[in-house]
Amino acid sequence: MTDGARPALTDGGAIPELDPVIHAQARLRVVSALSVMREGDRIAFPRLQETLRMTAGNLSVHLRKLEDAGYVEVTKTHHGRTPTTLVQLTRRGRLAFEDYTAALHALINPKEEP
């Protein structure tokens, strides 16, 4: 894959590179949680924050980085009169997450590498 931002698994049994965007522990947690949701489903910021047990400020910072990488889409909308912020993993984010877990598996057991 030649996606630029996404390092692909390297051929020839070399140690795969790990995506720096989701390599940070906090962002890995965010992306892992979001990966459970079906494509098209969005979760409100406060509920995600509650589930991840992060502070609002901390989660915002990491979401912005993920958004900059195109991994996460943050939508601001209104639910009645209350403004709501909805978060979802983009297709690109999902692929990056899958690559990342594949790379981890490859690191643990190099034979599993495709």
């Binding site: 906090a26 079906r38 901390n58 981890l104 643990i108």
Partner: protein
């Protein structure tokens, strides 16, 4: 896993990263899935108690096994079913709060399907009161409603690719037929224990799986 100060730092051990991924995924699944005990047990107990009372008052061959007031079984069953509907409605919508998209739309449509189809069937059966004997009417209502429940559980299994929900639907449909063949009175007993019991088991199994 508690957030640490060095959240910007990657985990060094890939196995630990995989554990973290699993942990967060399981955590959100638990957060978004309604507690199976609260989704199944109210229905299981409603059937067990309500239909159990029907069996005791309107036993096989018209026998009265326990001399309950003749209105009591229906009132018990209806109260238990309405309470179960309220509990599962509240629990279901609480778990989908602050989540939008295809999944919550599916859930809302499935919930509406239950209400509308039960209303529709009650409406049809309601037209027949007075034309059948009491025991025939009990069998018609019991058999019809249980058949619909089985069908909706199977449909739920198909929608969410949930094997246990589908099996529950198949089981409910089968014991319903057995009960109808056995006749009025027996139907109540078979469905109370077989159907109500199966829902209690389904709630327990679902809960153990999520933990």
């Amino acid at each position: 896993m508690p957030p640490t100060d060095d959240e910007e730092l990657p985990l060094v051990d890939p196995a630990e990263s995989l554990r973290l991924i699993q942990h967060e995924r399981a955590n959100l699944v638990r957060e978004l899935t309604p507690d199976p005990r609260l989704m199944y047990w109210p229905w299981g107990f409603a059937w067990l108690i309500g239909l159990g009372a029907f069996f005791l008052r309107y036993g096989p061959g018209g026998r009265v096994l326990v001399d309950l007031p003749d209105w009591l079984p229906l009132v018990l069953l209806m109260t238990a079913i309405i309470s179960a509907g309220i509990i599962t409605g509240v629990v279901g919508s609480r778990s989908s709060r602050q989540v939008t998209g295809p999944s919550s739309r599916q859930g809302a449509m499935y919930g509406l399907t239950w209400s509308i189809s039960f209303f529709g069937l009650s409406f049809v059966f309601g037209q027949l009161s007075g034309t059948l004997s009491e025991s025939q009417l009990n069998l018609l209502w019991g058999g019809g409603m249980v058949a619909l429940t089985g069908a909706l559980h199977m449909a739920g299994g198909a929608i969410w690719n949930d094997r246990s929900l589908f099996i529950l639907g198949v089981w409910t449909s089968l014991i319903n037929i057995v009960g109808v063949i056995a006749g009025p009175g027996w139907h109540s007993l078979i469905v109370a224990i077989g159907g109500g019991g199966a829902m209690i088991v389904a709630g327990l199994v679902g809960w153990l799986r999520l933990r």
